[in-house]
Assembly symmetry: C2
């Protein structure tokens, strides 16, 4: 049976302060915990229904010193989901590499002020799909280890390395020959844009876009033009969702880099 | 002051059954209600903070027979948002046109079993951005007028016509020369795919994809290939989010149709 202290500890991990204190985070649901089992991440504990354990016999050996079979009711007391789903694990936050060792020989994604957990998770998931291994975030982005972000990554949290830093200083320290692509309203039409070299793609905040102090670092501003039906005038969609803009630009860059044999 | 009956009525509109009974839905937040004011939709009522009304003097005249200035506390009692935002309106559900009158001379989006309100709203918003005027949904898609869908459309609900029908029968009744594009795992690589003609794009359910009975209607299956870093093998992202796949395919189709002067 889950102890009061265990329940209290797991629920504390829904808050960033305690995740940082314990260097641990929650991974929930059948599919997500299976992804975690296949990853190299440290698993500190697993709490799962008996049926899940029978289907995942490797789980107890992989979960460090804590493994517990729980009832649906117990799972509900530690879950962050509307419908708790078979298993919940506590994983260790991995130590990030030094950002200054990062080699920019492939596409790197930079997030400037992404606040919505769903967007953040979807962006990491999309980055993973397009083979992006590094995502660099401004300090005011939502925390990767927020349970809602982890959920929206659909397991990609375990494959993409996410680092939080002071963006301005880092971007200014980059060699000048590295292109810095950025989604900006006054950017070049993406339909005509040539992406010839791997570099950095910056996606800005959901409502404010890329911050004023970061804009000068963008060498190649890009814009996804709306298609305005005749007679609509100014009565049209104002913007694209940040995770959608990210996906379209990542797709186009990947397509062109592939054509250019990168 | 808001009457008990008004509060009860507005809260009932968070449930589909009552939205259908009253043919009405909720639109919330400063930006969204302003979008509603600019639309042709019927506005049945507006409840707003005094500061919002001062900034939107046309609002009282546009809101039919009900207009009320409310306090923040009152707004909180009718709002569906975590942080209620200045104004809430009740709008009339518009009468949809007959699907059989729909001319397929431009790109039309078809949604087969989209269940997540955030995905649904984001898909409508993206369709609007790419100038798609008609979205046709299977009966098991989440309701457009669900407050969370409306919120995620960011106002696009007022510009895109969304119709719910029995997809299989309708798709089977279409002229053979209309291409039916569909996101499918065994589809043609989108990097090489030619989209020469306007037609229909089908996006399937978040976990199950396009339903088995709809698949035979797809004439042009399309696949967005993952980029797999060396040595990753099968340990990679399993899929893209449905609203992301939709955006990438809409983008590519629009781009090619534009090049082909459609």
């Amino acid at each position: 049976m889950l102890s009061h202290n265990t329940i209290k500890f797991i629920n504390s991990l829904k808050i960033k302060k305690y995740r940082q204190e314990h260097q641990a985070f929650i991974v929930e649901g059948e599919k997500m915990v299976t992804e975690l089992l296949n990853s190299k991440l440290e698993i500190k504990a697993i709490y799962a229904l008996e049926e899940w354990v029978l289907a995942n016999p490797v789980a107890p050996g992989r979960s460090g010193n804590r493994f517990e079979i729980v009832t649906e009711k117990e799972l509900g007391r530690i879950s962050d989901l509307a419908t708790p789903n078979k298993a919940l694990a506590v994983a260790g936050i991995p130590i990030s590499g030094d950002i200054h060792d990062l080699k920019i020989n492939d596409l790197i994604l930079v997030l400037d002020g992404i606040r919505d957990p769903g967007n953040m998770g979807t962006i990491i998931r999309t980055a993973d799909w397009f083979g992006i291994r590094n995502v660099v975030c401004s300090m005011d982005c939502v925390d990767l280890y927020n349970p809602k972000v982890i959920q929206a990554t659909m397991g990609s949290f375990a494959r993409v390395e996410v680092t939080y830093i002071d963006l301005t200083n880092w971007l200014k320290s980059l060699p000048r020959e590295i292109p810095v692509y950025g989604a900006l309203l006054n950017g070049q039409n993406i339909y005509a844009k040539k992406f010839n070299k791997p570099g950095i793609l910056i996606i800005g905040n959901e409502s404010k876009g890329i911050s004023p102090e970061i804009i000068p670092c963008v060498t190649d501003p890009v814009f996804i033009p709306p298609q305005i039906p005749e007679g609509s005038g100014t009565y049209r969609a104002e913007s694209l969702n940040a995770s959608i803009a990210n996906a379209i630009i990542c797709y186009e860059i990947r397509k062109q880099l592939k054509e250019n044999k990168f």
